[in-house]
């Protein structure tokens, strides 16, 4: 009896047409949502791209500026310039007989301090490689379900 009622309901022409229209609208809504998502992502990509381009331009500018600053410092600290300044200030180079060596008991010359990265060292690498990046949504749901059902195991 119930079966025949259901069959009669679903086979009704009006219901059938409404189902079709509903499906079409559903498809349109899904497509629209996807398009909106695409637009949002695309807009963000464009924005990031512009920022990247600007950053690269700024890096270039900074490279040129850095090079120019270093060059200016080198020009200002040139050996002949520094020597001239020292002479103007009344200094002169000493002769061997003018140098006094004073022994300091207990003092030992320490080893050279290296500030560069040595050849056998490696910079630390921050490895962002989380499990979540490789886990599908279905796997995640399954894992969550397992977590929920674990207390009931063995019952």
């Amino acid at each position: 009896m119930t079966e025949s009622l259901n069959q009669a309901y679903s086979n009704s022409p009006r219901r059938k047409k409404l189902q079709i229209i509903g499906s079409v609208f559903m498809a349109i809504v899904i497509a629209a949502v996807m398009l909106i998502l695409y637009l949002v992502v695309s807009a963000r990509v464009v924005s990031m791209g512009r920022q990247l381009q600007q950053a690269k331009d700024e890096i270039d500018q900074l490279v040129y500026q850095g090079v120019n600053y270093r060059n200016q410092i080198a020009q200002l600290s040139r050996f002949d310039v520094m020597e001239l300044k020292a002479v103007e200030m009344g200094f002169r180079a000493p002769y061997p007989g003018e140098v006094f060596y004073v022994p300091v008991p207990g003092y030992k010359l320490g080893p050279e301090t290296h500030v560069e990265i040595l050849q056998d060292t490696r910079p630390a690498v921050i490895n962002v490689n989380l499990l979540e990046y490789h886990q599908s949504l279905i796997d995640w749901v399954g894992e969550q379900l397992n977590n929920i059902l674990r207390p009931f195991e063995g019952l």
Binding site: V46, Q53, V63
Partner: protein
């Protein structure tokens, strides 16, 4: 039944509307694809541009981090002349051309003819200067801006003023020419040598156009230093932002040179050359225990920022192709006696006290060899032979060794082979093989005192390091480290042989120390134990033979003799004030050592021994 028909009509209407809308979209897409003229599409030049990553050529630094070779920003300045013509602004064209010629000092004949030509040809973009400096470009732009603003140029003594005052900030900021529609300036990096002539013979230079390193470190390590200016077509589409070129900087090179010491040594050498009327010279200072070159002065030098200047053409591109005399071969003369004696002592054919009666001449292979003063010196021992620099005695010593043993020792000392120092253009020298057809036995005698043999100063330094360093011969090196992308590579000290024993080295050092003191040499520095030997070599002139009026004067010395910290080699070529190494090269050694001991913090022997105790 009628209700059902009404529903159908509504559904059909909605379906038609959707269909029409969809069809309209499709039709529009098809229409755009089929009807748009490709000529109406934006030019590819509007979709992107050629971009060059600002890649830096690696720096060259001295051992204390002082910059010897760096980079600086230069600009390619372009003027679009054709657009001026199109707008009929002939006056502006003339103004721009005149200012460019004046400010950038254009002397390229072709460009000058174009800029001065009336009427000017309709060429589009002209690069008026490829390497405009920051100062010149700022000056040019200020004058152009003043012209447009109607401000007349200031006159100084009836002439246009030189230029504008430029602040430090303006010197470093990247110049933007975008406010001038028809003038563009593109920054790029060029090589800069802030110390100008200092150590120029070591550094070499980079060609401005090809960016190729020439001579010295720049030539030898061109591919290491090279900053790859990656140029590619970069789209303005932000989706393609990651396609813009990334810079590829060259590696930095740290030299073993100490620029303060280098400047002092260059200064001493320059003054000597000027005072003695010499034509060229070199001084090498090396740590004999490590092989590190602390200073390598060579004269004449050039300001390598302006290597193309006429003044420097003869220095850089001379007929002998010598820019660094430290790696050029020559007949060194009596300094080679140190190695002849070392070989003889090591082979056991003589001892310091071996007696030799000097009769003033000796005949070897049909050639008579005489002393420098052509006199007989009578009974001598080996120390006095060295002290008096007796050619006859050393030629006899060589005959005691015989050719095979003598030349085997010379080969062990590295003569006739390049030392491998990291400089472009090193000469291998010339030592004949005793079995070669053109070898004559007389050459054994002349080679023993450094004539008829070609050796570079750097080869001598390497060979003598075996004597100074207790028999251990080290390879000279001028590269302290190479730093690339944060990693540092430091070449290790390289021992290249033990041509003589430690005992021989010590014995010879003692002999040379004694002979310097006995002759009250001008090379001595009070308070310091030094060993050394002078050298005077006649120069061979093709067609005229050896001329005693033109000599190469040399000196090699090291100290402190018990714990050597420095080895100094001096060569002064063709001095006119005196022809003797003892009068020209020995004082240079002493002046260099006076600077060295202070700079390296080496106390006098008495103080050093007291401090060590």
């Amino acid at each position: 039944m009628s209700e059902k028909i009404t529903y159908n009509w509504r559904f059909i209407t909605i379906a038609l509307l959707y269909s029409l809308f969809g069809l309209a979209i499709i039709a529009q897409m098809v229409r755009i694809q089929l009807t748009v003229n490709s000529g109406d599409l934006p030019s590819p030049s509007l979709l992107g541009q050629w971009e060059t990553a600002a890649s830096r050529r690696g720096l060259i630094l001295d051992r204390n981090g002082h910059l010897l070779a760096g980079n600086q920003t230069a600009y390619a300045v372009d003027v679009n002349f054709s657009e001026f013509y199109q707008s009929g602004e002939i006056e502006e064209v003339k103004m721009l051309a005149d200012l460019a010629i004046e400010v950038f000092g254009i002397n390229n004949q072709y460009l000058l003819e174009f800029l001065r030509e009336e009427p000017r040809p309709l060429t589009k973009n002209i690069t008026v200067e490829r390497f405009a400096s920051q100062e010149d470009l700022l000056n040019f732009l200020a004058l152009v801006d003043n012209y447009y603003a109607g401000i007349p140029r200031e006159l100084v003594d009836g002439e246009p003023s030189e230029g504008i005052a430029i602040s430090l900030e303006e010197r470093v900021e990247v110049i933007d020419c975008s406010h001038l529609i028809r003038v563009s300036c593109t920054p790029h990096l060029i090589r800069s040598y802030p110390e100008k002539k200092l150590a120029s013979n070591i550094i070499g230079f980079v060609m401005r156009d090809s960016k190729q390193g020439q001579l010295g470190i720049e030539g030898k390590y061109d591919s290491t230093l090279f900053g790859n200016d990656r140029t590619l077509w970069a789209l303005w589409d932000p989706h393609k932002a990651d396609q813009a070129p990334d810079p590829d900087d060259g590696a930095n090179i740290i030299l073993t040179i100490d620029s303060v010491l280098q400047a002092d040594v260059e200064n001493i050498l320059d003054k000597t050359i000027q005072k003695t009327g010499a034509v060229a010279g070199t001084v090498i200072v090396m740590d004999p225990q490590t092989g590190e070159i602390l200073a390598m002065a060579s004269s004449p030098r050039a300001d390598i920022n302006q290597y193309w200047f006429d003044d420097y053409l003869d220095i850089i591109n001379n007929h002998e192709n010598v820019f660094n005399y430290a790696i050029r071969s020559y007949e060194p003369g009596s300094v080679v006696k140190v190695l002849t004696m070392a070989a003889a002592l090591d082979a056991g054919v003589v001892e310091p006290n071996t007696e030799f009666i000097d009769e003033g001449e000796i005949e070897i292979g049909g050639v008579t060899i005489k002393n420098w003063n052509e006199k007989a010196w009578g009974p001598q021992n080996m120390t006095s032979c060295m002290q008096n620099s007796l050619n006859v005695c050393l030629a006899w010593v060589a005959t005691e060794l015989e050719s095979e043993q003598f030349y085997n020792y010379f080969q062990d000392f590295g003569f006739g082979q390049m030392t491998g120092i990291e400089l472009s253009g090193e000469a291998p020298g010339l030592v004949k093989s005793y079995w070669s057809p053109d070898y004559t036995r007389s050459e054994l005698g002349t080679n023993a005192f450094g004539q008829g043999i070609e050796i570079t100063p750097i080869q001598m330094v390497k060979a003598i390091s075996a004597i100074a360093n207790k028999g251990e011969m080290v390879a000279p090196r001028i590269i302290h480290s190479i730093v690339d992308d944060g990693y540092r590579y430091t070449p290790p000290k390289t021992v290249v042989g033990h041509p003589v024993s430690a005992e021989t080295a010590q014995t010879l050092t003692d002999m040379l120390q004694e002979s310097l003191q006995n002759e009250s040499s001008l090379a001595l520095v009070p308070g310091y134990s030094l060993a050394g030997k002078t050298g005077t070599a006649e120069i061979y002139v093709p067609g005229q033979g050896y001329k005693s009026t033109a000599t190469n004067t040399s000196f090699v010395g090291w100290g402190p003799t018990d714990d050597p910290k420095f080895l100094v080699y001096v060569w002064v070529s063709k001095p006119s004030a005196s022809i003797w190494g003892s009068e020209i090269a020995a004082p240079v050694f002493s002046k260099v050592v006076e600077k060295l001991v202070i700079h390296l913090g080496i106390p006098p022997d008495a103080v050093r021994v007291a401090l060590e105790e």
